[in-house]
Amino acid sequence: MSHIVVQNVVVQKDVFNAAEQYDLLMRECPGAAIVTFTGYVRDHCDSGCVGQLELEHYPGMTESVLGELGQQASKRFNLKAWRIVHRYGVLDVNEPIVWVAVIADHRSAAFDACQFLMDTLKTDAPFWKREHMTDGSANWVAAKSSDSERRKRWRE
């Protein structure tokens, strides 16, 4: 079997398939406990129907922040492997935005690490969402205080 190198961090414009990502990671590193999170574009919001979601990002900084968060998680939760795939650009409803997967020896570490990565990337990775509504209007998504509260759980 040829060796497949799996990048820990992928920031891409193209749509991805979470099931394929899972397969790829598992081929690289089987483990005892795997937790994955996938976030998809929702078709609703507080003020109307979302037609598309646009994600602006800071190329370079995005990859380095996600890489650092992954390394922190890896050390803190003793991970065997981890992987983050995050998209930017214009996304349609029901398309995946982000996929985070972690492999650990025990389920509690795996759940904690996956939540750590989601909670920290929400507030630390330089992405900005803009919702394009079906009526043609667009608005920047405001940062949520609930997200910064969840981020605080992980301060050491």
């Binding site: 976030g39 990002h57 800071y58 900084m61 995050h86 330089p126 992405f127 940062a143």
Partner: protein, 84 residues
Amino acid sequence: MITVRFFSMVREALGVEELSVELSDSINSVASLKRALADQNGAIWDETLHQPNLVHALNQRVVRIEAAVVDGDEVAFFPPMTGG
């Protein structure tokens, strides 16, 4: 010379993505750079760069506003992140 970048709502409000700034005795930190940009470019810049939640990065890392800036650095201003 340093590069200054703006993202998201900040970029949109200022109508600028990127600019070059000459360092000087009075522009030598993120704080003094921000003050100079806010003071010298009119009300919109003043308001936008003084929004309470503004985030500032130096060489692609979020830093404290006091951080010193040297030639060749990249400084960025943007609103709180909303990824994931």
